[in-house]
Point group: C2
Chain length 115, copies 2
DNA sequence: TAAAACCTTCGAGCATACTCTAACGCAAGA
DNA sequence: TCTTGCGTTAGAGTATGCTCGAAGGTTTTA
């Protein structure tokens, strides 16, 4: 599959796909004329990377993750994902707190308007 | 209170405090020699800004918020905070999803290691 | 076969949010 | 008084993560 279709499938721009390649996340094969060819494995990895990215993992951490995945080092993968999971739980707590604070502020503002 | 203490109280660097001032978030008074003097109102606003920031609001949106707060436009404040709250709920949903996905991945990895 | 649409590379540019440097003035302690 | 430390400014630099432009080759479609 060519870059524009891979872009559509993953929701990442063609620019981003080339950028991620430069960072070493993926290595699509190239045909005789130099066009990239994305496999379904590539797509799966890209979708997973997009998920990690959207959940706040930096590209630098993703790089480490991709490296241990490439070495099939499952133990190291588990370690990194456990750390990531911890951060997600922390984020969950933080957001709960921010929601409360914002709701309090809103209550105060609304009572100022009403009375 | 001088900038270094304001920095300590808010957890924002002195650089950041000056930067936020340049963006128009706060306007601490200046003494005869040009030193900034932060009031408790300034601190309160800075802490609230830090909270909005940490919960994902961009400085551009914070600017808008600060502006309507300055005009005591409570209705506009409510509108902005309602939108922010919506985003927080969305984030909460997203994170819930990312936690599930990560836990699934971890389960798969762990079963690969164990067997 | 020719135009339109797609692909390539490389390097530059952009947006956000700081973060620091340089060169200087003021303040407090030994 | 002298040194150390904190403050000031304007403007430059950094980090992250893209995003784009230029110049050119390839593929598809009318």
């Amino acid at each position: 599959m060519k870059i524009s279709q891979a872009s559509e499938e993953t929701g990442l721009s063609a620019y981003t796909l080339r950028y991620y390649e430069k960072l070493g996340f993926i290595e699509p094969t190239k045909d005789s004329t130099g066009y990239r060819n994305y496999s379904y494995d590539d797509l799966e990895l890209l979708n997973w990377i997009a998920c990690l990215k959207k959940s706040g993992m930096t590209l630098d951490s993703i790089k480490r993750y991709v490296q241990v995945e490439r070495y099939s080092d499952s133990a190291a993968q588990v370690e990194l994902l456990d750390m990531h999971l911890e951060k997600l739980f922390q984020q969950q707590e933080d957001i709960k707190h921010y929601i409360e604070v914002t709701q309090n502020k809103l209550r105060t503002l609304r009572s100022n308007i009403d009375h």
